[in-house]
Amino acid sequence: MKRLVNLSPSRPWALLLGLIPLALVLALYLAGSDARLTENPNDKLLPSLEQMSSALDRMALQPSKRSGEYLFWTDTAASLQRLGLGIGIAAIIGLLIGLLTGALPAVNVALSPLLTVFSLVPPLALLPILFIVFGLDELSKVVLIVIGVAPFIARDLQKHTLEMPREQLVKAQTLGANSMQILFRVLLPQIMPRLIDAVRLSLGTGWLFLIAAEAIAATDGLGYRIFLVRRYLSMDVIIPYVAWITLLAFLLDMALAWLSRRLYPWHHKGAAS
């Protein structure tokens, strides 16, 4: 018998072992739901699969009685737009600040303290100020995501830029490169896959801020719907929505990973020599 630390299961076993806990959780849920529904057929806390699928059918495939919209899809579109804008703007800001502070010592000296302070501020605690400055509409939701995510991306990229081998910068200079050229041709392309990594890591935070923003003031969105129907304990809507958010987050993550492998093969295969 090998030591446990050396024991890594083969592929089919790994799959199976990974599925067992998931299946167990599902079975436990179904059993609990069944038990509660036997006692009270109108119980809303742990809806059955049929209840959830009929709720999903109603939200996604039937037009809403009040507005005629397919709520599930309008919610999804609204949320993805906010998330995309927020994360996109955060990525651009984070890239600029991270790259410039990492590459230019003068900028680093000027901005680093501010960046550090900013990244430690909990944005949700400053909501009233955000409202006054950015209003209550789309902008403030996007801004909340940006403020929540950009400092992390900026610091991560700053760290990676600072960690870039000095040798490459020296080499570029001996080839006649000016600062601009070093930024654009040497540092920026090598930081791009790091940016994608940072965005992947910050997507979770992005979703968190998105849902928080939608819970505060909104007329549509996945977070809005969850917090709205929570008012009458519609877990049959909430659980499919949560599963959908999880799936969307997973797909986004996969897409970014694929994009990074596709655009920057040298980053994934190459050692750092």
């Binding site: 000095r166 040798e167 490459q168 001996t174 006649g176 050229q181």
Partner: protein
């Protein structure tokens, strides 16, 4: 061409180099050996311009060596010398792009083709003709260093600085690389400074060997005195006894 007068380098209280005086003529091939931490790499950095002298002067054609790296001094490091995100060909043409496109650092059209032709010629001369589309991570260590050399030479520097360029290579490949460097040195009429750990390499390559070592040592304050050049020998005029004496100093046999 290069002259040092009473050159000192400290880092705080830590004296690394002291009392360096030398003159180097154009076209010399100088190898530098010494124990680790003896200051030979620091000397290379002074030539490169990434470090400045604490005292004394280091001049190039009578003017102080610029305080940042520049076109006239090419460099090959032991590693991280090439750009991992560019193909072999791009690693060489980028030097021309830096020259002709000050803002973006990119070439287009005929300028691009011209740079590529020139780069292919240079790659052929270092034996990388068939690898131009590959990325550095797809190359062996030796090929990467060949690329680094080709890249360093494309803008025709007068001085080539080599910082233990073959330190991470297998002995067989190292011999090939040494031949390559010698032939390029002759072809491009370069002045070469090469730091090496391998004293044999120092004796074999080039025209002149410098040994960096400390002549004064205070056990109470090991950093109070720096290293200087203890031997300055023309290569090819050396007897076995001297080789062993130097070898013994650099790699003492444990008692």
């Amino acid at each position: 061409m290069i002259e040092a007068q009473n050159l000192w380098k400290h880092y705080g209280d830590h004296v690394v180099l002291e009392r360096i005086n030398l003159k180097v003529r154009e076209g010399e091939f100088i190898t530098m050996v010494g124990t680790s931490g003896c200051g030979k790499s620091t000397f290379l950095k002074l030539l490169l311009g990434t470090e400045g002298a604490t005292r004394g002067t280091l001049t190039l054609d009578g003017n102080p060596v610029p305080d940042e790296p520049g076109l006239d001094r090419g460099i090959v490091f032991q590693q991280y010398s090439v750009f991992p995100h560019l193909t072999v060909l791009e690693n060489v043409t980028i030097a021309r792009a830096f020259e002709h496109s000050p803002l973006l650092g990119r070439l287009f059209g005929s300028a691009k083709r011209q740079a590529e032709d020139e780069a292919r010629e240079m790659l052929a001369s270092v034996g990388l003709a068939s690898a131009e589309k590959r990325y550095p991570h797809e190359l062996s260590g030796g090929m990467r260093q060949r690329l680094a050399i080709a890249q360093a030479l494309i803008r025709k520097p007068r001085i080539l600085l080599l910082d233990e360029p073959f330190g991470a290579l297998d002995p067989g490949i190292r011999a090939d690389m040494q031949e390559l460097v010698l032939s390029l040195w002759r072809k491009h009429k370069l002045t070469v400074f090469m730091v090496t750990h391998d004293i044999k390499e120092g004796f074999y390559l080039g025209t002149r060997l410098w040994v960096f070592d400390k002549t004064r040592y205070d056990p109470q304050a090991p950093h109070a005195y720096g290293a200087t050049i203890t031997y300055d020998l023309p290569v090819g005029h050396m007897d076995r006894a001297l080789y062993e004496e130097i070898d013994d100093r650099l790699h003492p046999v444990p008692a």
